[in-house]
């Protein structure tokens, strides 16, 4: 008398097929191997005025950043220093990351408004600011994108904490007299004095 078919772990049949057209509008990701590159092209020269108009207000005319907005260039050989600067040229491993990110998120506040040709041109210009592309006439396109390599690619390695930090797995951590002498204070947040005041916080309605 069961009015119910017991559920074998078959398909739920929930949702429907996504059409290629639906997918195409949202499928904007680009990978290092070129997967996802849109068809288009643009030269450094074409990129410059676009960049100046749409990007420079925040990122600076040369990618040096305005105010506290992110820097886009510079910082070469700074990574092992006390003040590393992680720019597209100094740090990023793949140029595909740049074109993907500009395509999905920039300009900040007007995301996904660039045409494909604008996208290639601006990307070319940012790579030019980073000395990755050397000449203003260079035309970046889906065809030649794969030839662009960033200098820092080889300096990334996969998470190895479980081996490199194996010492942090220790069955019996020290419980008494774990260091000699009394602890002494060597630094105070209060001296740096950059903590927001409790009384100056945002207002609750």
């Amino acid at each position: 008398a069961a009015q119910t078919a017991p559920i074998a772990q078959a398909k739920l049949n929930i949702g429907r097929s996504a059409t290629p057209e639906e997918i195409s509008g949202w499928d904007i990701d680009i990978r290092p191997d070129g997967h996802g590159l849109p068809i288009g092209k643009g030269t450094v020269k074409e990129g410059e005025p676009l960049y100046v108009e749409r990007c420079a207000a925040c990122h600076g005319e040369f990618g040096e950043s305005a105010g506290r907005w992110p820097i886009l260039s510079g910082g070469n050989d700074s990574l092992a220093s006390h003040d590393p600067i992680k720019s597209v040229g100094s740090y990023w491993p793949y140029a595909s990351t740049l074109i993907d990110y500009i395509r999905r998120a920039m300009p900040f506040g007007a995301a996904q408004t660039l045409t494909n040709d604008e996208l290639y041109a601006i990307t070319a210009y940012v790579l030019f600011l980073n000395d990755v592309i050397k000449t203003e006439d260079f035309e970046l396109s889906d065809k030649n994108f794969g030839t662009i390599k960033l200098p820092n690619e080889s300096n990334f390695f996969d998470d190895d904490r479980e081996t490199s930090e194996k010492a942090f797995w220790r069955k019996d951590p020290c419980m008494s007299n774990c260091a000699a002498g009394h602890a002494t204070v060597t630094g105070r947040a209060r001296v740096i004095d950059v903590t927001p005041e409790q009384s100056k916080g945002p207002k609750v309605e």
Partner: protein
Amino acid sequence: VAAGGANAMPPQGNPANQPPNVPDWTRSLGEGVVARPYGKPSSYESVVIRRDVEWLTASRESSVSFTPLHALDGMITPNGLCFERHHAGIAEVDPADYRLILHGLVDKPLIFTLDDIKRMPRVSRAYFCECAANSGMEWRGAQLNGCQYTHGMVHCVMYTGVPLKTLLDEAGVKPNAKWLLLEGGDSAAMTRSLPMQKALDDVLIAYRMNGEMLYPENGYPVRAVIPGWEANMWVKWLRRIELGDQPWHHREETSKYTDLLENGKARRFTYVMDAKSVITNPSPQAPINHKSGFTVLSGLAWSGRGKIARVDVSLDGGRNWQTAKLDGPIFDKALTRFYYEFDWDGRELLLQSRAMDETGYVQPSKSELRKVRGVNSIYHNNGIQTWQLHKNGEVENVEIS
């Protein structure tokens, strides 16, 4: 530092409302039911809010606000106080328009409405969600005076969602699919690459927190929950999942969320949040207001690798340790509350807590961590925090040797 300093006696209030007198609220009726169809905290708790550090970022649309850990207890974070991290502000998604596309290396690309997702089999699990940059401002030394700021990029709610595996089974995963791209519908179109193994393990496509629908700032109507892994991967306002044969190396897993070591090399795909803990009370925003005597020291511990097994507490800057009590549910990859009771003799103390998880990982001291990572990592700072408790009950964020 908290207003009023510490060891100041708590405000005495209005004697007319104290015994033997009958207080105002006993004399007269208060507001009736459904005066507040959706409740909110007492007006006397209006200081218990998320706060930001304005100088950290150029704009509040790409910024962070912090959970007031010092003003909470137990292991659940209330929905209104979960830290926020946006890259392009809060997407205000109309649930009628919400769509999730699942495509790439699948047998059948699918599109789901919110109603579709809500009628699937679902589970509810409490997990901590910690930004990889939590405590990031403290790599070079004590900088921010308050655990809200040093450790407040973590929260823990009960999520309800569909196992990602259920969606993948529905679409059919092709054998060469090894990675997934998760993409948000916000104006940053946030993306992260997720290994298939994790996707099939415990990832949830979640739409509820603590029983009710996600709040907009936490990804309404749908976000990813990636238990134990850095919060940046918990893509909010989730609009698309693509399956592929390799990772995407997108901005949030190259430019950001890679951990720069002293030698200039950088670790990537550092997903797991190492075991960590912090004493929430006392702490700079929550000083001790009694002069001495019985004192409960309390805090939170968590690990991306599983359950918290033990928390030790030191009152002398790590020279000697005592094991704290764990209270409340001890869930896998969830915040765990600890307490340590002692009779404070009113002396200055250097307070620390040290978490251990079920894999045997022991939270390192800051100097141990700096020794292997340098101070340029930004992310994954799980070093032991030191608070200096002064005789007057005030507490400071300090570095010690």
